[in-house]
Symmetry: C2
Subunit: 352 residues, 2 copies
DNA sequence: CTGAAAGCGCTTACAG
DNA sequence: CTGAAAGCGCTTACAG
């Protein structure tokens, strides 16, 4: 710590450069109104002393409040998945609000693109300093982040990525590898060469996240020279009855399905179907630590859940924006989350 | 944030109490030299205003440096496990050194109790403000923490616990449940009712951590009505040759061992034995994300590693002491770490 | 037992 | 383009 030890602050820099500390401050923050000559001199001294600004003092003195927008899906009756990121945001805010950071949540409806567009434009009107978003709707997200770029707003993606965009960071899973892990777990105790079913339950047909997961899943079989037949269905209604109808039909066509992989958190509907139709000895793996899934994990219908720490994703996203906006330090462009394996036996200790 | 908004600080409290801010400060920090009457009055106003001290300002103004001692095993040639906690300490220190926190590491030798005792008394001489330790030697740790109590030093255990002590917190695994998870993974694809081997490799005979793990391991079999014979060996030399000798003898006595569970990070020596002796189709599970284990995970000799985020444990331990000493807030007495499951497929994303 | 004043390292108007 | 001064919310000697 500075304190007693020899610490060089703005005062010392000012003394050595023969200027006032106000001028030093201007240079440190790249403000206008300093001659090239003194600017150069000061920067040299800063480098020489390896000056580290005292963030405490900086934030204490500054009146400047930084506002971060958070654009995520509203928690629906269908799933409480998005509760976790919201908690992550709140945890981050609690930690850094002393530094003058505030967050404002904006919620959209996952079954209505228009709400995403509306909330996004609200954010732009509001005049925030940074944005964290889940790019659930690809085209709409692309358009929104283009606006952010024009306004020089840094933005961070969580949960899924749009790689071609100039985001400050992506914080979320490596979907391909996540599917790969799913395949490992599913096949780990496979006894036969029977069929395997991949189930995709989503209203968003074009959502390519699930495709990446599936690609990873299939790659595992290829890499390990396993030639199981992989059956695949898309279910575009997310309610139980639709899922049950599709599942019944699949089981009718394919008697010898031994294992099922569901590419998202809706695995509980498939679990429910298996339980209701008294199908036993079918391995089932899916995604996300949500309470709907937990009961089926506990009664052994779901074997494993894969999870990517949604709360932590949001926490880190807020911290990344804080790093960038307050500290001015650089941020890792891609932060892959761990691919966590949750079972009946370890879930009580899981930290989302 | 305070800033523009209506924020009540020491100044406002002082104004309302008709005293100076110095007196308010004395009350806030429970310093002596304030009459009961004014003390009471000030405390009432503090409560009424729900006063939250500004930590930034507090630490900036204070000259008081807080020193935390870290007592952990030295990294040996045998295992780099303790590198991770050290990194966790450094990460925490980097984050809070602006607040005037410093850490000092003290290393002991896992194969020499005396070094633990020496380092522990060095800490007491040094006059630190808090201690984080791995209580690797139970009796010695007990004696040391009793001294800490006398000196009113808060201390936090990581990695393993001594439950009867008055620690500020324990941050580490639930060992029983961890063994339970190990059994789940080991039996998940068990084909037969063949024998299962539990291997204990440690110089510390009386270390009861391994006993807790083993107890959890065995409970899984009981809870699931599995009657596999569980063979158990203790190996008290940790070098490869000793392990190989014991393993050879066990395999001689028990031909039909199908799966092996090693209760700590030395699973790599067993893996090495299996590989060298060309034994295939034996499931192997052990502990900890260390580089010695990683190669055997990658070439499929080790099926799963269980891990408890050693870096995070240390990070949190330092933060817990910081919370207690600087913020004055309370700390959770037991913080169980997640029981992470590491495979060949997900280890690249693991965050220790 | 209590208060006035200086200071922590920085930022922010304001004046020139 | 530059500087003197006030101030952020708290702590710390020092004086009484």
């Amino acid at each position: 710590m500075e304190k007693d030890s020899i610490y060089f602050g703005v005062k010392e820099i000012a003394r050595r450069a023969n200027v006032s500390i106000a001028t030093v401050d201007r240079v440190i923050h790249n403000r206008t109104g300093v001659s090239e000559k003194t600017k150069k001199k000061i920067n040299e001294i800063i480098k020489e002393l390896d000056y580290q600004p005292n963030i405490l003092a900086s934030r204490l003195a500054s009146k400047n409040i930084i506002i971060l927008a958070v654009l995520i899906p509203r928690v629906s009756e269908e799933t409480d998945f998005w509760e976790a990121p919201l908690r992550g945001v709140q945890r981050a805010e609690l930690e850094i609000k002393q530094y003058g950071i505030q967050t404002i949540p904006f919620f959209f409806d996952l079954s209505d693109k228009e709400t995403f567009v509306q909330q996004a434009s609200l954010i732009l009107e509001k005049g925030v300093h940074g944005v964290m978003l889940s790019p659930s709707f690809i085209e709409e997200s692309r358009r929104f982040t283009e606006e952010c770029q024009k306004m020089k707003l840094p933005y961070v993606f969580i949960d899924s990525n749009i790689p071609e965009q100039r985001s400050l960071s992506y914080i979320g899973p490596h979907l391909f590898k996540s599917g790969y892990v799913g395949a490992k777990l599913l096949t780990y105790r496979l006894k036969s060469r029977n069929k395997i079913l991949v189930v995709n339950i989503s209203k968003e047909i074009e959502n390519y996240n699930y495709l990446q997961i599936e690609e990873g899943f299939r790659s595992y079989f290829k890499d390990n020279q396993m030639d199981n037949t992989i059956v695949r269905i898309d279910i575009k209604e997310t309610d139980y009855l639709s899922v049950a109808r599709h599942m019944t039909s699949v089981f009718h066509d394919h008697q010898d399905i031994e294992a099922i992989f569901v590419t998202n958190s809706r695995v509980f509907t498939v679990a429910s179907f298996l339980q209701n139709s008294k199908k036993k000895n079918i391995s089932l793996i899916g995604y996300d630590f949500i309470k709907e899934n937990l009961q089926y994990l506990n009664n052994n219908v779901i074997d494993f859940l894969i999870c990517h720490k949604p709360e932590e994703q949001a926490y880190r996203a807020v911290m990344a924006l804080y790093q960038k906006l307050v500290i001015g330090s650089s941020v890792e462009k891609i932060q892959y989350m761990p691919i966590d394996i949750i079972t009946k036996e370890n879930h009580e200790f899981y930290q989302k």
